[in-house]
Symmetry: D5
Subunit: 146 residues, 10 copies
């Protein structure tokens, strides 16, 4: 079972069980965003998480193995098209050099890791319309001379 088949199997079971990412987050003891990314085949799950996830969804050991496999991370097209994802891309384009300057002024020359990294999504209620709050946390990695 490859990651694509795994993804379809997991999504179908999730819909059948009527479980949300929040539910699966609670069932595995992980963040809903991370659980979703593992189910989308973009992160490998530790054995314990894979086991709990398949239990919650009533799936078998094939899926555990597929969840634990190390993924090859790939996406379609240099520029995303779906409006929700494009807006994130636009934010990187518009604010990229700004973020580089603000981060490097605060931390020195280096980057925010996308590997030692976590991300969450919250809903902030607001009378003018609820807001999506995305929080990213990545380890600062300083450039080194040698």
């Amino acid at each position: 079972m490859d990651k694509l088949e795994m993804h379809h199997t997991l999504m179908a079971a999730k819909a059948r069980k009527g479980l949300s990412w929040e539910d699966l987050g609670r069932a595995t003891g992980h963040s809903p965003v991370w659980v979703a990314s593992a189910c989308y085949g973009m992160n490998s799950a530790p054995p314990e998480a894979a086991r709990k996830l398949t239990e919650a969804l009533g799936l078998d050991d094939d899926v555990i193995a597929a969840l634990m496999a190390f993924p090859t991370k790939q996406w379609d097209g240099a520029i995303p098209q779906d409006p929700l994802i494009y807006r994130l891309y636009e934010i990187v384009g518009v604010y990229g050099p700004t973020l580089k300057d603000v981060i490097q002024e605060k931390f020195g020359d280096g980057i925010m890791s996308a590997i030692d990294f976590a991300m969450d999504v919250e809903c902030e209620e607001n009378p003018h319309g609820d807001r999506v709050v995305v929080t990213m946390s990545g380890k600062f990695l300083p450039y080194k001379s040698w």
Copy 2:
């Protein structure tokens, strides 16, 4: 004075005065990230903010007008190359469909606005290495039928 000349003028004055984005944030009553994005020519500044910013930096009225002008937002290349900015692009590629699913499960069919939008950067101290924490907050815009 166009946005590019304005940017160079502001960066030179900021370096000369030894002020940080935090300082300029305090001076204008805005977030350091927003102030930086206005100085990078990616957002237009309201008159009050433009005035306070140029005062703090000892610059004249030309710069106020340039800060208030409505920008054309553009960036170089579909795929950014600087490692700090590329990592953000990579996060959009790797986690884009995950975020779409998590957000739309929570909010319904729609997007996070990149226009009615705010972003901040914090440093989280950590014994294993400090972490960059980026928080984005965008209004949820539901798709409408008509």
Copy 3:
């Protein structure tokens, strides 16, 4: 049933029943353009609209579920090739900066939303040749400072 299969099912039923988009607009109480976009898999239908549409076309509940699913919006190629669609792309290229200037002079710094958005098509009779009249209406979203 995914959006692609749904699309083919709906188009076949529409041809079989000999119904026009106008007819389906009346049957659902929505604009013909919006109904078509939902049938092309580019918008999710509210339950009521999905039910009325499948009733009008004599289709079953699978199609209702597919119509209600939140779509991933994607299209082929950066530059469209079919002459009808290319002409729209050309209009964006030729008149994009003009529209930006005219809209922002009238409304201030911001954009026309493509999410809180509606569009219609009318035929304007004209002795020199009928004219296609496309009307777009999108909420103005002002940029905010923070």
Copy 4:
């Protein structure tokens, strides 16, 4: 004087005189959108319009000649980046096949001309936020067999 220099000259004069596109539309007897597109160098102006426009802006005959010259229409990049213009591109991507189907069902096999074409922008006041209304009108051109 080429179209680029003409554009900068016109924009500077317009700012100096404090005239809006509406004002220039009235001064020339043309639509504000068309006047703007001619000033952006994307349409050639008939002699009368060129004369009235330069009169209104206090400019000389060089500008008249430049306004009357036939332009080469070009734009930067296959995919626009400024959010206002990108949203229009996104609309073409998302609704292109829908529009093709709705138009061709109404008119037969053919296209909406982008040459025999007019466009206007109106502000529609709305308690939930004002709306930008863009109206395009293009002659329907049927495909012919031969």
Copy 5:
């Protein structure tokens, strides 16, 4: 039956019957180039032409319907690779601005329509090697102000 299957069906019948495009042109009362383009799925055929064509090729009503369907015109790759087609692309690249200048000097600001358009191919015998003569005829469409 979609346009692709129609194309294969028509080409197979044409080969089986040993008919040339000239023959099919005569059989339908249309130009051989236009008939070929309809068989390649790039133009919709009027009912009479579709009927005569299928009669000449001994095909049934499915093919008539497919010939009459309005096509979506698409091609592979921005730059064609087959040498015969590339040479045409090269001619557009090399002579495009020349043609623009010559046509607009003769006709005024406007374009040659690719919709109200016809094209033919003739063989011109020549002792130094026969020549391919391609004739294009497109309605001149003047730009309009509004």
Copy 6:
């Protein structure tokens, strides 16, 4: 004097003298299209033609040398944007495989040369609107086995 400078010099002189491509064609004994292409720097002129052309335009020997130089043929962008030139590109996309089939059925396996090639533009008066008639004539080059 390189081809670009030569082009600007020639266009300025042509405007100053008020001569058309037809006039320059007559003055040189060549087709107006070919003369234009030589003035656009896309063909090298034989000495006689270069001499007559500069005489007609009142230019000096530098221009003769530049007209005779062998050009490097280049154009902007894989896909042209100006509507007049794009329509030609669209014709190649839409009718490319059709032309290949019609030409190769008539002539055998081979191509129409874009080097041993001539092209002309005529105006065909027509009550429904004048038509642009473009005629291309290229030597047929058969593929050879070896």
Copy 7:
């Protein structure tokens, strides 16, 4: 049988029979490179060559027809990736303007035909390592004025 199936059939038969391109060149009276290109579906074979080739490989008449069919020449990607083919592309990139200058100085303004063209590959023994010798011969086609 299309060119792709023909290619696989021919390659399998060649491997089964243990014949080299040299052998097939001798069997058909053509150059090994040309025979290979016909088997790769990039050239159409004259009837005699097609017959001799299928005889040598013990294949039937389907393959003869496929070998004789006029090919559509296409390749994957603008820039080849396999190292052997990339090196040829690199040679075109590095030496392209050099070859243009040397050829045009020798022959006048024109090109080397890729249609009336032949190519061979020889092995030149050399104590420092054998050398691949590729010889291309193409008819010179002079540009013509008209």
Copy 8:
């Protein structure tokens, strides 16, 4: 003096002296193609060759240093546009896999070097039109296991 300035200096001197690449080949004891490639800035010249070349052209020591500098080899665009160079690109596209097969059948798994490489151009007189003969010779480099 960088390679670009060197190139223009050398071309101007070559034109002034009326020398051909053949002449410069004889003057330096190298192949005309190699001399041209060094003058185009695509190869570094050994001291002796650089000295003889500048002597023949009456240039000074700056040019010697520039000729000896190690070049960065770069070219414009993935796909060349000038017809002479495009035909070479087309040959690589059409015959690339054929050449790979013929070379590797003869030599084993490996490539023809584009570094340990030489190339010459000859004119072959022919009553049907002279032919350009390009000969490439590159060391065969076998792949190695390790």
Copy 9:
């Protein structure tokens, strides 16, 4: 059996047998990296290595033939997306001109061969986190004049 099927067969057997690339390196007397590249279909294996590898994995002669076949080396996309592979691409982008300068200063004008080439990966233990050590060794190929 083509290289893709061979790859899947080899990977499945390797997983079934629980062997590492180190094990397969020992079993064949080759480097683990080279063995992996042969199993990924990017290098052809000499007969002895192919035999030992299939023996170790309990596979049959089909796989031997496939391992020995000369590969066509191809990869997906100009810019890799998986983070591990992208980092290598980034290193080439960031350090490419640096490496060119350092290598050519040391060795003269030339390149490091990617054909006569070997590469290994070691783990270097380190209290601040283990390090991946990649060593590449390629024959220096000097450019030659001719």
Copy 10:
């Protein structure tokens, strides 16, 4: 002084002084590759290294500031063209998935950092031709769940 001007200043001083990267490595106590990358503007130098480097090259304080500035890392084109750099790109293409598999089998799911990274180049003498040995050492960064 920006990084580009700094680069030219440093390269000119290095040539004037006749110093090699080895010399500058010794002068600063850093690796020659790292020193070169700092001089190419791709890494920021710590104050001590910047001071020693400018001392060795006889340059002033402007250069120290430029060396210490945090760079924006960018390179030309997705695919490098200079043969030396392209070979490195080709190695990433050909061996990328192989390296991913070998590294992740040895270290677990994660990547080799390109930030906490060092690289060196050595010459290995070899009777069959000297070899370039490039050694990369990057910290292994494991993916984390959250």
